[in-house]
Symmetry: C2
Subunit: 233 residues, 2 copies
Amino acid sequence: MTELWNRETFLGKLKAVGMNRYHDKHPFHKHMNSGKLTPDQVRGWVANRFYYQRNIPIKDAAIISNCPVREVRRIWLHRISDHDGLKEGEGGIENWLKLGEATGLTREELLSGKGLLPKAKAAVDSYVHFARTKPWPIAVSSSLTELFAPDLMKERILAFEKYYTWVKPSGLEYFKSRVTQAKTDSDQGLELTFTYCNTAELQEEAVKALNFKCGLLWDLLDAMAEAYGGGEA
Amino acid sequence: MTELWNRETFLGKLKAVGMNRYHDKHPFHKHMNSGKLTPDQVRGWVANRFYYQRNIPIKDAAIISNCPVREVRRIWLHRISDHDGLKEGEGGIENWLKLGEATGLTREELLSGKGLLPKAKAAVDSYVHFARTKPWPIAVSSSLTELFAPDLMKERILAFEKYYTWVKPSGLEYFKSRVTQAKTDSDQGLELTFTYCNTAELQEEAVKALNFKCGLLWDLLDAMAEAYGGGEA
């Protein structure tokens, strides 16, 4: 029988996944943050990543629907309204639509899925399927890419302000809001992972889940690099 | 090709389901509202119905997770926090636990599922499965028993205050809160049903869904009547 990792070891394993596989290391993303993407490549990224964004509340509702623990559902619930907004004109999906507009795409184009690459769609759909079908503590742990998101968001904001001055500053609201939201989310996600991935098997599954999540974010960027270029190492 | 019903006809069909099949017509329920249940029968009802109550947020999260329309998810979301509460000590499930305590059950008994009848469990599980697997507008329409709930709640409050004076009044908070909540919920559910059950086929499915929902509420009471008596017509 395998022994349980203590929190420090468990956290170390989770962080190691991010160090090796988080999508900030993808050539397309490195090119984005060093100002090397063309406007068309930026728009391609925005349009495809939008499919990921719009599926976040669907994924989080699946986790809530699989969770019999009232206290956990209560903790997880704000994620849905963070992205959907509490009313028209609010929320992360709305902010992403504004990012699209700031890059010259219309919200109708984004909402219609125009330009969505099949490989990008498949990557996102696999994530929703994962959340629907895996035990909820494992689906929760797959969200822990949020551990690595705040730093990336800060870097991305600087890159957009420096290199992509043709993008209207109003478009950067999503990135700005996620700096603090992702910190809250990862604190909560981590605490739930520590508490409910409480067997050696579940701990290993949690690390695998984070690996899977990093993999699909990577696949998203692969899809874009293949279609639009900008993925040279 | 079948013609679409107008709103009035559609509403009439939905209301007819309630007139014929809503569980207020079940002998066990009639006995409850006319003061004929013994304390043990009341406790049996509370314990088994609790399994229904605790599954409501699970069911509603499934609907949200199946719904690609942000505006609809926003409308539906409060149902989860209505039942789970926004914090410890709040919400419909908590109020039902208080009802249990007011009848002499402990919250540990309720949470452990002690006394849950297999047939009652199966009825509730079939409802969650329905919400997970049916198109979301159909799952929404299955919630329209809420059209008939406020009247029943008012009647139930009066019955408890009159006949079951051994139940502490603090236990009746759930019924009281549902008089107004169920009205809001059914207004929203009806509007969504009218808007999104927008083919003849979906309209018919919606009526069938409400019929199915009435059926499982009926089955819940059948389970209790069989186990505890109190179901003689």
